[in-house]
């Protein structure tokens, strides 16, 4: 197999480990893609487990990497963290005028409809291509992976976890888009990316997946009570589904918190400890 080129854009020492930013040409999206990867100090001595952090609307690989505060706990627990971008980008890539569709808003699905299908293959990118790349190039254990995300990234984390059987040991989410088929954040985008096949939409809806298949492992969800997007996120649907499914999981409403990274960073320690418990012997 040909080793594809990967470029190091930056590497900064962080909590005794290394916060890197890398760029490569993606087969899945047909564009250059940039991602962040934090390697904890333990990675110097052998392979480490990995946590995927999927970000929300308008974010690049950079927002969570600089604002979520994950590195302190990744270093403490000895877990690598990958921060993928949220969509393909560039001049030749389809886009939309609104901030919640097109570039910066890939919704972690493989688009089947024009003009999106050409580059918007974010599910394949995040679920297949990027895992192969990071396992190949970095000291990361292929068989110890967990996933989390914020907002659209919470939707991505939950839907990937429930559709990639036995891939992830645990899944968590911060203020996830919880019920995309019943929300302004989902209906329009899924129709554009996936057409009108209800089965395709259902595989991109965390609540429907929870009702249907659930997750083979522990689930943690945090949601702020003062989130300005509660009507679009629909946490109540997911909370109900977790309970109805008898899913092993914890759903927390956090008083006073909004949708920002100040909310994410306030609870990142809990999420990192939750994943560490699932990932470490």
């Amino acid at each position: 197999m040909e080793r594809r080129a990967m470029e190091t854009l930056s590497e900064n020492r962080s909590f005794g480990g290394c916060q890197g930013v890398y760029r490569h040409t993606s087969e899945a999206t047909g564009t250059e893609m940039t991602f962040g990867l934090y390697q904890p100090p333990q990675a110097e001595f052998g392979k480490v487990p990995v946590l995927w952090f999927l970000s929300g609307l308008t974010c690049t690989h950079e927002n969570a990497m600089t604002k979520a505060g994950a590195q302190a706990f990744a270093a403490r627990h000895g877990i690598a963290v990958v921060f993928p971008d949220t969509s393909p980008r560039g001049e030749g890539v389809a886009d939309d005028e609104s901030f919640d569709m097109g570039q910066g808003a890939g919704f972690y699905v493989d688009a089947t409809e024009g003009p999106w299908a050409e580059h918007f293959q974010m599910r394949t990118y995040v679920a297949e291509e990027l895992p192969r790349l990071v396992v190949d190039r970095f000291p990361i254990e292929k068989n110890r992976q967990s996933i989390t995300g914020h907002s659209m990234g919470g939707h991505g984390a939950l839907t990937l976890a429930m559709t990639l059987e036995d891939r992830f040991a645990s899944v968590s989410a911060f203020a996830p888009m919880a019920h995309t088929t019943q929300s302004e954040w989902g209906q329009r985008q899924l129709a554009a990316y996936l057409g009108d096949d209800p089965a395709a939409h259902a595989k991109a809806d965390a609540t429907l997946l929870m009702r249907d298949v659930g997750f083979n492992g522990p689930v943690l969800v945090d949601q702020g009570t003062q989130d300005q997007f509660l009507d679009k996120l629909k946490p109540e649907a997911l909370a109900e589904a977790i309970a109805s499914k008898r899913q092993q999981g914890t759903f927390r409403m956090q008083p006073g918190y909004d949708h920002s990274y100040f909310f994410v960073s306030s609870f990142i320690a809990d999420h990192m400890a939750f994943h560490a418990e699932a990932l470490l012997p």
Copy 2:
């Protein structure tokens, strides 16, 4: 005394407390100024001590507020943190084409020379006007203050601490500009802002102040060994001065770290604990 107007730009819940951003018209600078203030949960029940975090070149109030990770430890210790801007800003405010002079580069001095003197009164703003404002408007104890900063802000923290007798219980710095009168980061700016009076320059040089007066309390300085600006920061001069002065203090060279916020966030826990020990009974 007339209560001057202050506008709330945002307030986000963070680690059980409140990360606010506020704007007011400054008498010192003659411009609108924006600052961040984190109030820990303990501020709901009474006055709390305060730590000043002064930022570096090109930063606004926002960089450290979102990237340094101070809030977790401010909440743990019950300490408020103020994040001032680094200069006056706006269309009518003098500026320079380079990133290290003019807007975003106030150097925490009161300019005496044209065209800077009109608005660049950052020492008075940070040392006098903003403390009065935050003590007046928030539950902050006037007599329990400490100060820290990064790069140009480390220079600000150290020089303010050594020239405002008994104001601060402790001072720390991340990769401070340590010897401005002997550096590209200092000579040109101090000449522009302060003219050619050697006494004025000396009061804006942490190493000269350490040799001359020192600090009446503990000092903590962290410096990365891979900092890309070591030749401009001149940490060796300050380290020598601390030892020669027999100053109570700790100077740490941190292997592998550079000048970024990944360095700052890696050691913010130590700095917050250091200040907490000085500020809390």
